[in-house]
């Protein structure tokens, strides 16, 4: 259950990363389709890293001599991570929900005082969450898996941004 919740949080993170890297790279006014594509690509990116993480998890599970202990240790680590990730996700979703209120000042304010700072702390939150989760673990496999998943999560936005930037450069080169 905890692993499923982490998976869903990873998808949400991918979705938002996809949206974020697409912003400022399309100057049309009507951008619903553009943003939808960006969100889907973020979601797909998150799905890919989740699949890689799952394969790594199974591989470690199969190779581990103490499977039951590993499973309990992993679940405990994931449970601890949730203490960091869930409040962060709630803060992000809460800020986005505030933007449903039709006030230009309030919407702008969420961008300046909430979504901006929350974006800024994304990487530190991920590092804190994973370290907090794996630090008390007994097994080195749990720690290694935690660090591997952390590297995957941190690389997601980098790669999404890399591809979005390449597309943008190509598009502007075609124009000018």
């Amino acid at each position: 259950m905890t692993l499923l919740a982490l998976y869903l949080l990873a998808l949400l993170d991918g979705l938002l990363c996809g949206g974020r890297v697409s912003m400022g790279r399309c100057a049309l006014i009507h951008k619903r389709v553009y943003y939808l594509r960006a969100l889907v690509s973020g979601l797909l990116g998150a799905q890919i890293i989740s699949t890689i993480a799952l394969i790594a998890l199974f591989a470690v599970g199969v190779l581990s001599p103490h499977r039951a202990e590993l499973r309990a240790d992993l679940e405990a680590a994931a449970g601890r991570m949730m203490w960091i990730f869930l409040p962060y996700a709630a803060a992000v979703l809460g800020s986005l929900a505030l933007r449903l209120i039709p006030s230009t000042d309030l919407r702008s304010a969420t961008s300046v005082v909430a979504l901006g700072p929350l974006t800024a702390v994304r990487s530190p939150i991920m590092i804190t969450g994973v370290v907090y989760g794996i630090a008390p673990s007994h097994l080195p496999e749990t720690r290694l898996l935690g660090l591997f998943v952390l590297a995957l999560m941190l690389s997601l936005e980098y790669f999404l941004n890399y591809f979005a930037a390449k597309r943008q450069v190509a598009e502007i080169r075609q124009l000018i």
Partner: protein
Amino acid sequence: MFASWNPTQPEITDLIVRHDPHTLERLPVRKQDVLDVFAEFHNRQAMRALEALSSQDGILNAQEIDRLLVTIHWEMQRLGEEFYHGPRVFAAVSAVVAAIRAQGHLGPLRVVDIGSGIGYTLRWLAARTPLASRGLELVGVDLNSALIREANRLSRAEKLPCRFVHGDAFSPDHSGQIYLSTGVIHHFRGPALVEFLSRHQRPETHAFLHFDFQPSFLAPYGSWFFHILRMRTRVARHDGVLSAVRAHAAETLVQAARSAAPEFASGMYGVKIWNTPLPRVFHTLIGVRRTLLPHLKVHFGRLASRLGELK
């Protein structure tokens, strides 16, 4: 203070593109000349950004500069989107238009966006509001031909009722009944600000609205944080923060407007958030023909509290 926050220096984008003021022809820019300007201010951040730009025989590559400017303006549009600039401009412009109509002017009205860049404000107004269908002609004017080409491309792509022209916004061909601008007015310093505002004094002009950053103690820090997070090019990160530092205080703008354009009643609009001491990111210098004053507050409706004293 950081060297890159010195308000007496120009922005990078002020220097990397030059046009002949009469023919509007693009002029070559020597990279070293621009570097020398920022060396004088010990502004290493600007110099690093400039050093990354390619040049041939010491002249900045015009095509690369145009690509950079379009990239920056796409990013800046995001800033406008995040701050809901379109709805803010619409609220103010529609109140001004209603006041002009109430005064009896029923003919066509042209809204001219000065320094329109890639035309986000006008394209937003054309796409999201009924202004064009109410007989308003939306025209953006900029001295940069690459940005104007991009504005027209974007406008055509979405079949929007607005157009963009390369030229001088105050020339007889392009002059309008309502002038507006966004993030432009702080580029005019000292006597140039007074001269810019005096050019509004034309018989056909009814009003002007100039939106720009509002200076405050926190503005440069907020701007720095925002640009680090949101902007991707070095030049945008540098100039965005410097713009917030260079922004004119309300008193400077109002004083300049009242002395340069005495035919208009001028003042500030949208300075504080919900009448609290909290400043808005942007404030607006507004000027209207004095005959419009009795109608203006009525047509601003519940937003009338955002209007400062107009005189």
